[in-house]
Assembly symmetry: C2
Homo-oligomer: 206 residues x 2
């Protein structure tokens, strides 16, 4: 299935992003359809949007906020997706879950993506808190992550460095939104780009 | 061809918007394919984006500015569009041309859309100035607008009121970008929504 001469598709997401969650439910099938590897990478809207771009949260932006709500519900209807959690400006702290994901990506790679999917589901569909070691522990168990590996990840101060390095690398490459995709260097922003990406992969670009 | 039981599709655009220009080249064919009327309406990014949303011009926004440039060239390659004028933060004053368009829309309706197309082409393909009565006059001539009608439009102080009324009406309806579409009340933002709109019209929504 893999094409060793090509780099994997890159999927960047923030756990607090509903559009990142929507994309997370579709990107693996998209990559598989084109026999491409795909790597999931963390990004933080709090850094790119609020600090680097100096914008306010999108749902708080006049005119655009209410448009985005309509676009999200239209997208969900079309792709038969749901969201139990209310769409509002996020107040959750994505750092603990993103740090754990960054650590797993390096030190326990096979668990990283299943963990991200479990965390996304818990947050957006179960309305669970995913912001503390206590709330992350049961998630780690559901994907079969050994208790001692979880304990090591939570205790390892390197986790925050790994996340920071991943975030900086994304910013260097121009990643600013969630979801964001890079395909052989070509950037695509937004979950409504998946159909375009499908065409891009089919035609090998244009 | 018309479907009297349905309101026309609404296409909102700013003359200084390259994405509005791209959309202007495609929207009439889209509407015709679905046997729908379409009405072209002015909007001003300087009001919605800069004043109401309090954002900076998109091409000046860190990270997003360079992304948008890449997206524009990718879009042009795909749809075989060109742009002679350089993509940079607009410095042109869109008020004179938008006022004339608003006036024509009310007082000389058959000339309004041809005028908008001629102005878009002159600005983006010929790199012409379209910001003064002197530069607008030859454009009006190319679409066959009688000299006396053009003179009346330019002299009529009502033109700025008509534009302001149109802009306010758009803002009331949540119009914030260029291009922006409203289809039976449903809002769509961005020229990369045309394929989605095509599906929306085919399926009569979802």
């Amino acid at each position: 299935m893999s094409t060793p001469d090509r780099s994997p598709l890159e999927f960047y997401f923030d756990f607090l992003s509903p559009f990142g969650y929507f994309a997370s439910l579709r990107v693996d099938a998209l990559a598989a359809r084109h026999r491409r590897e795909i790597v999931w990478k963390p990004m933080l809207l709090g850094i790119s949007v609020l600090k680097v771009m100096k914008l306010q949260p999108i749902l708080d932006t006049p005119l655009k906020g209410s448009y985005i709500r309509q676009e999200a519900t239209r997208y969900m209807r079309r792709h038969r997706l749901t969201l139990r959690r209310e769409l509002k400006t996020p107040t959750m702290n994505p750092l603990p879950v993103a740090r754990l994901f960054a650590w797993l990506s390096v030190h326990a790679h096979p668990y990283a993506k299943p963990f991200a999917k479990a965390a996304y589901h818990a947050y957006w569909q179960e309305e669970m808190d995913i912001c503390t070691p206590e709330t992350l522990a049961p998630l780690a168990r559901t994907i079969g992550l050994p208790e001692n590996v979880f304990a090591e990840a939570i205790a390892d101060p390197q986790a925050s460095q790994l996340l920071r390095r991943a975030i900086d690398a994304g910013l260097e490459l121009g990643v600013f939104g969630s979801p964001f995709f890079r395909i052989d260097g070509e950037p695509f922003f937004g979950c409504d780009k998946l159909e375009l990406i499908d065409d891009w992969l089919t035609q090998d670009g244009w």
